[in-house]
Chain length 329, copies 2
DNA sequence: ATGAAAGCGCTAACAT
DNA sequence: ATGTTAGCGCTTTCAT
């Protein structure tokens, strides 16, 4: 290509990278030759020598790219990083701790400029060596364990507390909790926020019906059925996650209680307003989480050396009917 | 690192790549040094020299990574390619033709081993140079225009036809069509299949109420309201896409017609069975589309030279109630 | 304004 | 079984 244009290889490099110090005439010669050959810069070869070795790519580890919440985060990150010419490798973890480390390793082998990840393994201490060698790292949804790094999370406890407060202000005193696996930090936070808020209102917390380790719709449905058909059933239910909410909705419908027992779910979902009744939720803001995470990562890539911090994105109570059902008089 | 282990650089390469011809003793020496330095192979540097220049990465262009249908495809592709150690760059197009070409260019600069894309631009002729230089290429959801390459698509016309047949067998003769933008190939196919099937049953097709270019919930809702409040309203509606289906559902509910007018939507969605009535749909199979596309891409990467082909993934009618509503006697 | 030389981290080809 | 040399496509550094 340098040959075709009749110039030195460095001049080609100058033109392609829009560096100064090239006469307009040579510029055109090079540009022509480049078009003729359909020339395309090889980014990887470039980063091999470039100062800082930037590859303009980052790795993103999510629960699953097919999960709508992750999809929104993915999209926000893509938008924020794409504006800087950075491409995103995304991978799904499926709650498998071994995958987490394997994928991190694979991405590091590709020399990504940084990593954004939803931690699932019991500890993230394994990235300490890389992180201290200046690998930019931002955690999302959950804080890392065994190390310190930036994190962007939803206010899980506060959101759950606002659900409890809302139900209590509606007159409920018998509130039940349906929760996800207790080894997931966010699930524990949500329970804590919920239970503590109930206590704050002077309602005894030791007898709150709590069913946990519900990780899919069916187990949640069964747990809700059990709860609702037991003696002294709850007049309001809080579910900690979408699939659990769906299970609770099914149980309520089966028992004909959809309009008699209150329900608030953590996390918003499509068509929630089209249900009967509309489903009141604590909505998270995945676009904001993704955007903030991308911005923090860029700041770190650009050399920000502040001590690591956790950024909290507020959740939002959206009233749609199910959470406003009153207890029977 | 070769120095630390006290061996030649090539021996290190042999150990890392599990090549034969290294004594167990030296192997251990190298492995130890590698652990001490936290050594990590640089894939990019490797592919620079490796035969075939494989980077073990591919590019994926989707309408949007945040759209559930795309998410499922993304996931299936990730699973199929991940098994071969291939990482996926995903990008969102937002129906913007200029983005399509820009992202393809960006991915080519990263020397991806292949590309899987949902075409949106009017023509894909711009990739002909690369494709004929052996860039593996598979289109999904829509076939390319202006060039020939493998494609994996849903049987749009047949799926829409099965919806029409189902409604007609339920006794309907006045069927309406609510469709997406007519510049989208799949939308046109769905209309064609729907209309042709109606004709096949001897019902005049010239008077079918057709409303098109509905690209979001609100425009679909308004179109459906108009249709349903006009003279001689349809007794059954077919909607060509999720957002359009949602709009139609809202209109039916507003008019109190949810249980009087039949509805079949193209594309399945979460909670469709929880609606009142459950929504009958023509379900696509994004996991199969993604899996097949990934398999075809791998075959091409592995040197398959067959002439390009279009693979059709069948859709499936799922009865849930709304599509089984009978016309008024 | 332009170019030559060195070298990024690796693998291929060829010694030894 | 192990090492040496060259070179992938680029950017850096330093001449000219």
């Amino acid at each position: 290509m340098a040959a075709l244009a009749g110039v030195g290889i460095k001049t080609v490099s100058r033109v392609i990278n829009d560096e100064p110090g090239v006469s307009e005439a040579t510029r055109q010669k090079v540009l022509n030759a480049s078009r003729q050959l359909n020339y395309q810069l090889d980014m990887a070869a470039g980063s091999l020598r470039r100062a800082g070795r930037r590859t303009l790519s980052v790795g993103l580890l999510l629960p699953s790219v097919s999960n709508p919440f992750s999809g929104e985060i993915n999209r926000a990150i893509e938008d924020a990083l794409g504006a800087r010419g950075i491409a995103v490798f995304a991978a799904s973890l499926d709650d498998d701790p071994r995958r987490e480390q394997a994928i991190v390793t694979a991405f590091l082998g590709r020399r990504v400029d940084g990593l954004i990840l939803t931690p699932i393994a019991r500890s993230q201490a394994y990235v300490i060596p890389e992180h201290s060698r200046d690998l930019p790292l931002v955690f999302i949804d959950r804080e890392p364990v065994g190390m310190e790094a930036d994190a962007v999370v939803t206010d899980n406890a506060a959101g759950a507390a606002s659900a409890a407060a809302h139900l209590i202000s509606g007159g409920h005193t018998r509130l039940a909790y349906l929760g996800d696996r207790t080894d997931i930090q966010t699930a524990r936070e949500r329970r804590r926020g919920f239970v503590e808020e109930i206590g704050r209102h002077g309602i005894p917390t030791s007898t709150i019906p709590i069913r946990e380790n519900l990780h899919n719709e069916e187990s949640a449905r069964l747990a809700a059925l059990e709860l609702l058909t037991a003696e002294d059933p709850p007049t309001a239910i809080f579910s900690s996650q979408n699939l659990v909410t769906f299970g609770a909705m099914r149980a309520l419908r089966e028992l004909g209680l959809s309009n008699r027992v209150a329900l608030i779910g953590f996390d918003d979902f499509t068509l929630a307003d089209m249900m009967d009744p509309g489903v009141t939720v604590i909505a998270q803001h995945p676009e904001q989480i993704g955007k903030l995470a991308a911005e923090r990562l860029l700041a770190r890539i650009d050399g920000d050396e502040q001590p690591p911090r956790t950024y909290v994105v507020p959740s939002e109570l959206i009233q749609r009917g199910s959470g406003e059902i009153r207890p029977p008089a």
